[in-house]
């Protein structure tokens, strides 16, 4: 059945070369843990991506209940966690996944760094990777405010103070982030929500696309 549908589409659109080009290529021996167990260090990039997928999915589902509003944010999180089936699990996935993404990304970075895999011709990919790292940190930072509890509020107040400490442009950055010169409130929450849910994921997808395109084009760096 599935094969027939595939053949029907393939006959018309010739999609086989498309996915072959993406998926069908050999894993070099030095990257395959079946040959050298120590090659498991090459998994961390893929694991980062895997957890990112979980983050995107669980985040999409969380927004079915969450409201970015100072009166309802905490209540809606409390409701989805305590009244909705599997609410604790889905929110837990997003909560713990957020930390795990950072851990995996860090391990991936360490591997690339200590193997010197960032050297010519892969400098650009390292730069894009560092940008992804910043986007991930920003995602963690903006997501931290959204439950709108005391921890979230005061963590964000501190964050905004740090932003304000930047010479010259600091106060402007702070207002750009918080939406108000003195209050951390309604406008801060909506802004952080928009940044967390639309702006950063869009940037992340673009950067990840570039990251994968480059590794596909250049291949994984050779054995040490």
């Amino acid at each position: 059945m599935l094969n027939k549908i595939y053949d029907w589409v393939d006959e018309r659109l010739d999609i086989t070369p498309l996915w072959r080009d993406i998926a069908d290529h050999e894993v070099p021996e030095h990257v395959n843990p079946a040959h050298h167990f120590s090659a498991f260090v090459y998994c961390f990039g893929g694991l980062t991506f895997f957890i990112t997928v979980i983050q995107i999915l669980s985040g999409m589902f969380l927004t079915m209940y969450y409201v970015p509003d100072i009166k309802n944010a905490w209540e809606s999180v409390y409701y989805l966690q305590n009244q909705v089936a599997f609410g604790q699990i889905v929110r837990g996935m997003h909560h713990w996944g957020a930390s795990l993404v950072i851990v995996m990304m860090f391990l991936h970075t360490l591997r690339v760094f200590f193997q010197g895999a960032y050297k010519k011709p892969r400098e650009l990919n390292w730069i894009v990777g560092v940008l992804i790292f910043f986007v991930m940190l920003a995602l963690g930072l903006t997501g931290y405010l959204l439950p709108w509890d005391m921890k979230a509020l005061f963590a964000t107040k501190v964050t905004l103070q740090i932003a304000e400490a930047v010479p010259l442009i600091g106060p402007y950055i702070k207002v750009l982030l918080s939406g108000h010169s003195t209050i951390v409130g309604a406008q801060t929450l909506t802004r952080f929500f928009a940044i967390h849910v639309f702006f950063l994921p869009a940037a992340l997808l673009g950067l990840m696309g570039a990251h994968f395109l480059m590794i596909r084009k250049q291949g994984i760096s050779g054995p040490l």
């Binding site: 999915l57 589902f61 809606s76 989805l80 609410g87």
Partner: protein, 168 residues
């Protein structure tokens, strides 16, 4: 040896698809159950709500009664106003009709269409109902107006949750 020999490639394909599917299901099942939760939530029975209308004041002419109740919508509680058209039918029984049109949910009014006096009229698509709530054939609604179960307490009318009329 069986005729259908499973090649190494096939075996690996099946195992990997199985394990991968299991993992994907483990990931997606909580999310999907989470999303469909409102569909599986039990409907609340609905208590009887006091209206400001005295049973003694109910006549044969339908009158509009507004009553307020507390609505709990997930994490949001609010005071809402409901409406019923209340009258006594020929048998002397109290009838309380829901004003929600059975066509597409607009609000019907009593006796507002000059061409069709003494009928419930929906201005959205000219739906008509007889006084007892029966829909007039040839107009858009396909069912009679919903009926509130009623109850008397301390001389006042109480209404329950509106239900589709039986036998309709």
């Amino acid at each position: 040896m069986s005729k259908h020999r499973v090649s190494r490639r096939q075996f690996l394909n099946y195992t990997l698809t199985g394990v991968g599917g299991f993992m994907a299901a483990g990931m997606l099942m909580p999310m999907v159950r989470f999303a469909v939760d409102p569909m599986l939530k039990a409907e609340d029975a609905g208590d009887f709500i006091a209206t400001p209308l005295k049973v003694a004041d109910i006549t044969a002419e339908p009158q509009k009664v507004n009553f307020s109740f507390t609505q709990k919508d997930a994490w949001y509680e609010s005071e809402e106003t409901g409406t019923a058209w209340v009258f006594k039918n020929e048998a002397g029984e109290i009838v309380a009709l829901s004003p929600v049109c059975k066509h597409l949910g607009c609000v019907v009014d009593w006796n507002t269409d000059k061409k069709n006096p003494n009928m419930f009229f929906c201005p959205c698509h000219y739906g008509l109902y007889e006084k007892d709530g029966t829909n007039v054939p040839g107009t858009p609604p396909l069912a009679p107006l919903d009926v509130y179960p009623t109850r008397e307490k301390d001389g006042f009318l109480y209404v329950g949750k509106a239900e589709p009329r039986k036998g309709a």
